[in-house]
């Protein structure tokens, strides 16, 4: 009994310590955002890595998600002769939920993990200490540009994924249930409002911040050589997934 109580106490203390360190890093990054204009070069470089390099995989993902949505809804709606609803279902699902969540998860796997691996490798090979000896703050130099780039680029990627997903849905609707694209888009634009798009973009901005913050946090906390880097990379993806899912519910609850 005593043993399990002590285990619970230790785990709780480790949990709160992690939360504390995570929030401290967030505050530290927010503080260094004051120097964003002096670091535009590295922010743009990160934006290209996060945004442009993710475009191909985001396109494939969004296109097929849109097509699957249209397939499922087309099959069901065709039973009631309500095929014109496909457009609004695909549109709303993509814009409000699937676009931001799936692109966020994609970014966590592709970019968050590489941030953790890159910073983690720098940590275990003393490069972070070398930065400090050169009077360069690692949070300012490494984390802040990644955080801002991710925060800016995920909404852009989500907007792009929404368009591609809706296009994928239109293609399937036209080929699977012979729905005229004009009917599909008419139904979509009648339903979709600016606030729906805004909700998706708000989520995307939060998810972008989470991906970069988690990747950097896990990188800075890396210990133990190559094995530690591998562990940090995996745990950054798992933690990002978890936070994105929880945050998705919280933001939806607030905005609905």
């Amino acid at each position: 009994m005593k043993r399990s109580l002590s285990t619970i106490a230790n785990k709780s203390s480790a949990f709160f310590q992690t939360v504390g360190e995570y929030l401290r890093l967030l505050l530290n990054i927010v503080y260094w955002c004051k120097e964003a204009f002096k670091n535009t070069g590295s922010i743009i470089k990160q934006m290209a890595h996060i945004g442009v390099d993710t475009l191909p995989i985001a396109s494939v993902m969004a296109f097929f998600v849109g097509m699957v949505l249209a397939l499922h809804s087309g099959y069901q709606f065709a039973k009631f002769g309500a095929e014109e609803w496909i457009g609004r279902l695909v549109g709303l699902s993509m814009v409000k939920e699937l676009g931001p969540v799936l692109t966020g998860l994609l970014l966590a796997g592709r970019v968050g993990s590489s941030m953790a691996a890159e910073i983690g490798t720098m940590k275990v090979s003393n490069e972070l200490d070398a930065l400090r000896t050169l009077r360069i703050n690692p949070v300012r130099y490494l984390a802040m540009p990644r955080f801002l780039a991710s925060l800016i680029m995920l909404p852009v990627l989500v907007l792009y994924a929404d368009v591609v997903g809706i296009a994928g849905g239109a293609l399937t609707a036209a080929t699977y249930v012979n729905l005229e694209p004009s009917v599909y888009f008419d139904s979509l634009f009648k339903t979709l409002t600016f606030s729906d798009i805004f909700e998706g973009l708000i989520k995307a901005a939060f998810f972008g911040a989470v991906v970069a913050l988690t990747g950097c946090y896990k990188g800075f906390k890396t210990t133990g050589g190559a094995r530690g880097v591998g562990k940090a990379t995996t745990s950054s993806v798992v933690l990002s997934f978890l936070i994105i899912m929880i945050l998705d519910y919280v933001i939806t609850r607030i905005l609905v």
Binding site: N126, E127, D129, R135, I136
Partner: protein
């Protein structure tokens, strides 16, 4: 001569492992103090305390009379201006070219123009004898070249104190000799104060004005290379070459055990 670095009774523990025990040292301006000790004996930990990368559990460190150990973050910045550090692994930034590595400190200080940074890079590369390799990536360099680039990077901000962490480790003897010679030349040319940690007694003899021996977290002896050579302390003997030890203290039990092993 003025005292540049003063280490006053610092102790450090990682978990249950006591790494440093009440370590005290003085480094005079312009001298090269070599700290010698076995691997994992706390030499690098001591070096990281001097530059403020680690905080001791007790004790303090003064640089030019100013305390390092009570400072954090921004407070350390002016003190770190005085330092350059060459890491054991060189710690070059792998995503940057040699020139970008050397120019990173001046560039991020934002007080130099790009032309001035280029001049600094060329000057420092020339100092370490590696002119014309600015465009190479760190993975294209040999171990000795990496150390020299790391040294050039640490020199870029004109430090008053250079800390060397195992400058000759993993290098073949001729390359190690070149690095030792370079450390001596820079000391003469730039009049910098240096602290070098190593487990290589030949390196210590060659570059050291004084040698401090760190054993099980404690400084057991601080002496000139000549005094170390003449010492009959069995622990000191563990770091000496067979011939040197026999000259001074034949039949030492420490040496016999070592040779038998």
């Amino acid at each position: 001569m003025k005292t540049k670095i003063e280490v006053l009774g610092i102790s450090k523990k990682f978990g249950d492992h006591q790494v440093l025990r009440d370590v005290s040292l003085k480094v005079k301006e312009g001298e090269n103090l070599v700290i010698i000790g076995s691997s994992g004996g706390g030499k690098t930990v001591l070096l990281k305390h001097i530059i403020g990368l680690l905080k001791p559990d007790s004790g303090k460190i003064l640089i030019d009379g100013e305390e390092v150990t009570d400072k954090d973050g921004f407070g350390l910045k002016p003190l770190r201006k005085k330092f350059g550090m060459v890491f054991q692994s060189s710690a070059l930034f792998n995503s940057l070219t040699v020139a970008e590595n050397i120019g990173l400190g001046p560039r991020e200080a934002r007080i130099y123009t790009e032309k001035e940074i280029k001049e600094i890079v060329e000057e420092k590369l020339q100092l370490v004898g590696l002119e014309g390799i600015g465009d190479l990536m760190p993975e294209e360099l040999s171990g000795g070249m990496k150390k020299r680039v790391a040294l050039a990077r640490s020199l870029a901000m004109n430090p008053e104190i250079i800390l060397y962490d195992e400058p000759t480790s993993e290098l073949d003897p001729p390359t190690a000799h070149t690095i030792n010679q370079l450390i001596l030349n820079l000391k003469e040319k730039l009049k910098v104060t240096s602290v070098t940690v190593t487990h290589d007694i030949n390196c210590a003899y060659f570059i050291g004005d004084r040698i401090a021996m760190l054993h099980e977290g404690k400084i057991i002896k601080v002496a000139t290379p000549e005094e170390i050579r003449a010492s009959c302390d069995p622990i000191v003997g563990q770091f000496l070459t067979r011939d040197e030890w026999k000259k001074g203290c034949p039949g030492s039990p420490g040496l016999t055990e070592r040779n038998d092993a």
